[in-house]
């Protein structure tokens, strides 16, 4: 495993959805280092290296954050707002992956400076294409510089 292999932080409260995304990323060899947290508070703790996530080696800074909007404790939008208003985390690409295709949610996400907004498709093939395209674009083509 190379050190510069992309690290993806998956923030998803639904364990089944998390499993699907995890398996697709892993099986299609898009990303190997995928870390999953199931609520907004845990996501912020991870990014700020608080509490259980203090270990840098175990919990490295992600190259990409896949963020669900409906989260227990701290809402996805709130997590997004905190990331984008933080001097250290602002440059971190955040892709919202939500089951909601409501204009309200899309607009709110972009207002909080989301880098992209993706809707989880019900159709499995579309889900696969979406994850592959996401991996190709954000993890292969896209250039990033870790803060």
């Amino acid at each position: 495993m190379k050190d510069d292999a992309p690290v993806v932080l998956l923030v998803e409260d639904n364990p089944h959805h998390a499993e699907i995304i995890f398996r697709l990323l892993r099986n299609r060899r898009i990303a190997h280092r995928i870390l999953h947290v199931s609520d907004g508070e845990a996501a912020l703790d991870y990014l700020y290296r608080r509490g259980a996530y203090a270990d840098h080696l175990l919990y490295p800074t992600p190259h990409l954050v896949l963020l669900d909007l409906r989260l227990p404790k701290v809402d996805g939008l709130e997590v997004l707002k905190q990331i984008k208003s933080s001097e250290d985390l602002r440059s971190l690409p955040v892709v919202v992956v939500s089951s909601s295709d409501a204009d309200r949610d899309i607009d709110a996400a972009y207002r909080q400076h989301a880098n992209s907004y993706l809707v989880k498709p019900i159709d499995y093939e579309k889900f696969v294409v979406m994850i592959e395209t996401l991996g190709l674009y954000w993890l292969t083509l896209n250039r990033y510089h870790l803060p």
Partner: protein, 611 residues
């Protein structure tokens, strides 16, 4: 008549001018009368003064008359003449000045008497002169006789001579008849003596005769004088009497005139007084008419105007009299105007009141509409949120199912049986989840739609029913439940209220898994007269920032905990439908939580009355 102010004004002005003129005429008449009286009085006084003057002249004349007779003043006769002339001229003036009065008649008499007086005076004066002359002649005759006798030289004749002398002195002094006769006798006796003695000669005889003749003449003159003097005295007495009488009567006349003038003046005074009084009364009458017919109605109108100005809108012009003149008409028109105004004002006020009522009604309606709109908006927002949440949460299991169906196909192709079982398990879980969601949604939608009629519920009883429903899980987790022994009664839908307690218990049980000595307390407390029902646990608690969120639909703090996240949403909805409110009290993680709710006072109050 006199209906207009103009007519009244000119009538009153005319009456006033007439009165004025009348008074002037009267005054002129009075002055004229007065001057006439004064002139007459002056005339009479003048006449009286002239008469007095006449009288005084007369007395002065008498004085000079005596002076003339006494021969003491040489100018006496001239003075007398002057005064006589003056008297005559005065008399003639008087007679001219007072024609045809009693005075003029008297004056005529006086003139006549005066003429006779003058004649007598002249006569007397003549006689007096004659007498003095005669006395002188008698004296010279006596002397001649005496010398003749003495010439005889006979002494016996001396005695008769002496007697003659004596008698002559006596005679001259008094001109008495006795002396006159004595002298005659003496002369005769002397003559006889001379004749006896033959001494009588011619010369002697002529002397004696001469003497006797002179004496006789003298006596005659004297007698005549006396007679005339008697007449003269009578005349002068009469004249005196007459003048005095005239003077007295003139005096009386003056007095009468004075009295008459006084009487006339008095009469004039009374007439003036009466006329003035009449004028004053007429003026007062006019003033009264002016006051009654003009000033009083005007004042009435002014009073009404002032009243209206002061805000007393009910004030009206009042006029008792029957005559409707200009001002009364004005007042009546003013009244009509005020009536119209008041009517309009009343109408306006009515309109205003109506309008205000309408505006108020409109405002109420507007308020109602706004409230309704607010409620509708809230409902709409809630519905939107609900639809959003539901679509989102129903979509999630679908994504799971399709996802794992895809994996299942791949695993089947790869022949990985273990993976296939795991995939199927995931799919089953998702379908179960979906079933719960659908059930919960159905349940939530029933609240408010399907309600049982409200009834009185015993607190402890309903709590025990709820505890019974979850007793299996309570026993499994060895949770202690304490129920406050309160005979308080609730009022509402029995089934739903039991559901509230049941769901709160269920919620508490879910979060008590980590607690070694789990405990739930269900009780009642009263804060400020409000009854608060609570379900308290010593579980993990709720951080302050999530205390509002947990009541939302499909909200779960811990994704690991079973359930759809609908339970607290259902509880909130039931409490709110009963008109109460719900909240959670917790000091944070690890401190346990207390779910509190109220039901409206009327439910509690009614329940207390029954208990």
């Amino acid at each position: 008549m006199f209906r207009t102010i103009n007519q009244r004004f000119y009538t009153i002005a005319g009456v006033l001018v007439f009165l004025f003129c009348l008074n002037y005429v009267q005054l002129a008449y009075f002055i004229n009368e007065e001057s006439g009286i004064a002139a007459q009085g002056e005339d009479i006084i003048d006449i009286e003064r002239n008469i007095r003057n006449l009288l005084s002249l007369f007395f002065r004349m008498r004085y000079w008359e005596r002076a003339v007779f006494s021969q003491e003043f040489p100018d006496a006769e001239r003075h007398f003449g002057q005064i006589m002339a003056e008297m005559k001229s005065q008399l003639s003036i008087l007679r001219i000045r007072s024609p045809e009065t009693f005075i003029s008649r008297d004056l005529e008499e006086v003139t006549k008497v005066l003429v006779s007086y003058e004649q007598h005076f002249n006569q007397l004066n003549q006689l007096n002169t004659d007498r003095r002359l005669q006395l002188t002649r008698l004296e010279s005759s006596y002397q001649s006789l005496a010398y003749s006798i003495l010439d005889t030289g006979k002494l016996n004749f001396l005695k008769p001579l002496l007697i003659i002398t004596q008698f002559q002195i006596g005679y001259v002094r008094a001109h008495q008849q006795t002396e006159y006769q004595a002298l005659n006798v003496v002369i005769n006796s002397l003559k006889n003596k001379f004749a006896q003695d033959k001494l009588l000669n011619e010369r002697l005889e002529s002397y004696m005769d001469g003497y006797r003749r002179i004496l006789e003449e003298d006596f005659g003159i004297d007698q005549k004088f006396k007679t005339v003097a008697g007449h003269f005295n009578d005349t002068s007495a009469a004249l005196t009497e007459l003048l005095k009488s005239i003077s007295g009567r003139a005096q009386e006349l003056v007095n009468d005139e004075f009295l008459a003038a006084e009487a006339i003046r008095k009469r004039l005074k009374y007439s003036i007084l009466i006329s003035s009084a009449l004028s004053v009364i007429t003026l007062l009458f006019i003033l009264m008419i002016v006051a009654r017919k003009i000033i009083s109605p005007i004042r009435s109108v002014v009073r009404v105007i002032m009243d209206i100005n002061a805000g007393k809108s009910s004030s009206r012009f009042e006029y008792a009299g029957g005559q409707k003149d200009d001002i009364v008409q004005l007042g009546l028109i003013f009244n009509d105007m005020l009536d119209t105004l008041e009517q309009k004002n009343r109408q306006l006020i009515e309109y205003q009141v109506e309008l205000e009522a309408k505006v108020q009604e409109l405002a109420v309606r507007q308020q109602e509409r706004e409230t309704l709109i607010g409620e509708l908006e809230a409902k709409n927002a809630e519905l939107e949120r609900f639809t959003y949440t539901v679509s989102h949460d129903l979509k999630n299991p679908l994504i799971t199912i399709r996802g794992f169906l895809g994996f299942l196909q791949e695993d089947a192709t790869a022949g990985d049986a273990q993976r296939m079982r795991s995939d199927i398990a995931h799919i089953t879980a998702a379908t179960e989840k979906m079933q719960w969601l659908l059930n919960d949604l159905l349940e939530l939608s029933r609240i408010g739609r399907l309600m049982n009629p409200p009834e009185e519920i015993h607190f402890e009883e309903i709590v025990r029913e709820a505890v019974e429903m979850v007793s299996g899980r309570l026993n499994a987790q060895k949770i202690q439940v304490k129920i406050a022994a309160d005979r308080h009664r609730l009022h509402g839908d029995r089934q739903r209220l039991r559901e509230v307690f049941e769901n709160l218990l269920d919620n508490a049980i879910k979060y008590l898994y980590s607690q070694p000595a789990p405990e739930i307390i269900i009780g009642i407390r009263s804060v400020g007269g409000e009854v608060i029902y609570y379900v308290q646990d010593n579980g993990i608690g709720v951080a302050p920032q999530y205390q509002e969120k947990i009541f939302g639909l499909f909200e779960k703090l811990d994704p690991a905990v079973e359930g759809t996240g609908v339970g607290l949403a259902i509880v909130k909805r039931i409490v709110e439908i009963h008109g109460g409110r719900i909240w959670v009290e917790s000091k944070g993680i690890g401190c346990g939580s207390t779910f509190c709710f109220t039901l409206p006072a009327k439910f509690g109050a009614e329940a207390k009355e029954h208990s």
